[in-house]
């Protein structure tokens, strides 16, 4: 048999994974793909996260023009079709690879991946007139994100322009941070104050009845999404995944560095979240013992997940939604858990959030 034919038949067999794993294009491409893939969540959350990623990448490219107008991104199942109702709509691709000029002051009828779509200038140059137009043309109920480039904020409207719930606000930080325990805790603190502190700034659904400290049914999930989103923004290009399954349980948030140099840790940190409460979402009382048990198990989980992922740091973040915010860290069981499970690469952050504005004022005033 001619050698060339043998070579042809053997081509598949001779493929070497070793060569591939030394190929820079393969390694870099894998990292880029991991960064680009959407966050595993509901369609709305996925869209908002993709818009956040697109806009941040675009803002990282060049200086923002003075007076840059906001932009409205609308999630469209078929962007080209939905664009036909807007005269003069133009196709836009690779928004993440261009500076803010290509989206600022525009209504983007965007694909779910958030980086392409069809654009028209904001109606009358304003968000309000654009939103009114969206409602008129039957796009009032699709997820909508307003980007405020000057304030570096993204306002996410889950129920679209017609929805009567408040929006969820996400920061678009200018600077990247390095993953360390103090930086993680700093991001959690900033995000607590800016996005969760009171029902006024918190996402819709965080509280069923703030005055009575009755949390919403999805409070933990909402906190998890906002925290994850902020971590992804501040520590970019590090990605933050939720609910990663391991042999010892599900990790609330696992950070992965897609650009790591070989030999460096793949997972800079794992974060375990706990929501402490004095009432359930159905107004049943929650005992102090239950909350203590949650904090103790949080210590154990954070350490176990750090070990199984070989992560550099482990953080337990306890969002304290209780009416009476007693010091749980002083509880014997918590002290014991801390001594047993924690070392210099672990930290527990207690993050109070308030159902009543007066209580939040008290914290800030007492701090001053």
């Amino acid at each position: 048999m001619p050698i060339i034919l043998v070579a042809a038949l053997m081509a598949d067999v001779e493929f070497s994974c070793d060569a591939l794993l030394k190929d820079n294009a393969y390694l870099a491409g894998a990292g880029e793909g991991l960064k680009s893939a959407p966050y595993q969540a509901s369609e709305e959350l996925q869209f908002f996260d993709q818009v956040r990623k697109t806009v941040l990448a675009s803002l990282d490219i060049g200086e923002l023009e003075e007076g840059a107008l906001p932009a409205v991104f609308v999630r469209c199942a078929r962007p080209r079709q939905q664009a036909t109702v807007f005269e003069g709509a133009e196709k836009r691709t690779d928004l993440d690879l261009q500076n803010s000029k290509c989206w600022a002051g525009q209504l983007i009828l965007a694909a779910p991946h958030g980086s392409s779509g069809w654009a028209v200038p904001l109606i009358d140059g304003t968000v309000d007139a654009t939103v009114a137009r969206l409602i008129r043309v039957g796009l009032g109920e699709v997820p909508l994100a307003v980007v405020y480039p000057q304030a570096r904020q993204l306002s996410c409207h889950f129920d679209g322009a017609l929805g009567d719930t408040a929006s969820v606000r996400v920061e678009l930080p200018a600077n990247r941070r390095t993953v360390t325990i103090p930086e993680i805790v700093q991001v959690l603190q900033e995000q607590r104050v800016n996005c969760l502190l009171t029902p006024q700034v918190g996402p819709p659904g965080l509280w069923n009845d703030g005055d009575k400290y009755i949390p919403g049914e999805q409070a933990e999930r909402l906190i998890q999404w906002i925290v994850t989103s902020e971590l992804r923004s501040h520590f970019r290009p590090v990605i933050a995944d939720i609910e990663q399954v391991t042999a010892v349980g599900r990790i609330d948030i696992c950070l992965t560095d897609p650009d790591r140099v070989r030999g460096e840790p793949l997972h800079p940190a794992v974060i375990e979240l706990k929501a402490l409460r004095s009432r359930t979402s159905t107004n049943a009382p929650v005992s102090n013992r239950t909350n203590i048990a949650a904090v103790v198990s949080g210590h154990r989980q954070a350490k176990a997940y750090r070990k199984i992922k070989q992560a550099t740091f482990g953080v337990l973040a306890c969002y304290d939604m209780r009416l009476a915010k007693t010091d749980l860290n002083a509880e014997c069981a918590v002290v014991k858990a801390r001594r047993m499970y924690f070392d210099g690469a672990m930290e527990c952050a207690i993050l109070p959030i308030y159902g009543d504005t007066a209580d939040a004022q008290h914290e800030l005033a007492a701090d001053a």
Binding site: F15, Y26, G29, Q40, R78, Q81, D94, A111, H113
Partner: protein, 213 residues
Amino acid sequence: MKLSVLIERTRRRVRLIQLLEAAERAALTPISMEKLHAFAYLADVLSPVWKLDPFDFQISTKRKSPYYPDLQREIDSMIAAGLIEVSSQRYQRVGDDVLFSADFALRFSSIHANAVLEASMGDPDLVATQEYLNELASALASLADEDIAAAASKDIVYADSFTDIIDFQEMRGRTTNTQRAVQAFDVVFPRTDITPSRRLYMYAHYLGRRAHG
């Protein structure tokens, strides 16, 4: 026309409408001929990632980038039937040949195209296929626009083929080099949740990198 031929043509038309629908959702339309064939090829070669079988039986590797004559024939006949709209017609010279090219998209006003899409929603296999194609189109859309068509020609099976034909049927039940490359992401990112969707993005970006040499 023989029944088997009719069934095969119907199958191909449904596939084409599904490809264009996925491209529509990812804002890739109007999609150039080169990109559409590249998308069809990657949909075949990466189908095991989604636990699906390749749609096509084979493809010639003689051209610089993937090209399915049967797919092109269906595009042409569906343009004539009013299901697909064509724009930006152009000619390009490749060696001594002059090739016709254009951009394609579903015609929204076509009753028949919409009827096919609606009917396909009732078939679990077609629903799974559409979901896969939507995900792959989104993964390709995350590449720079000019890299999408070039990416497919850099696929390991296509680019490194020693034969004139890639036989997808023969590949069934075997692990192809593309699949090996997709599986090797677990070595690059151990202890990481690499979902099938992520594998599509990772492989697409690898091809994007290869396209840049």
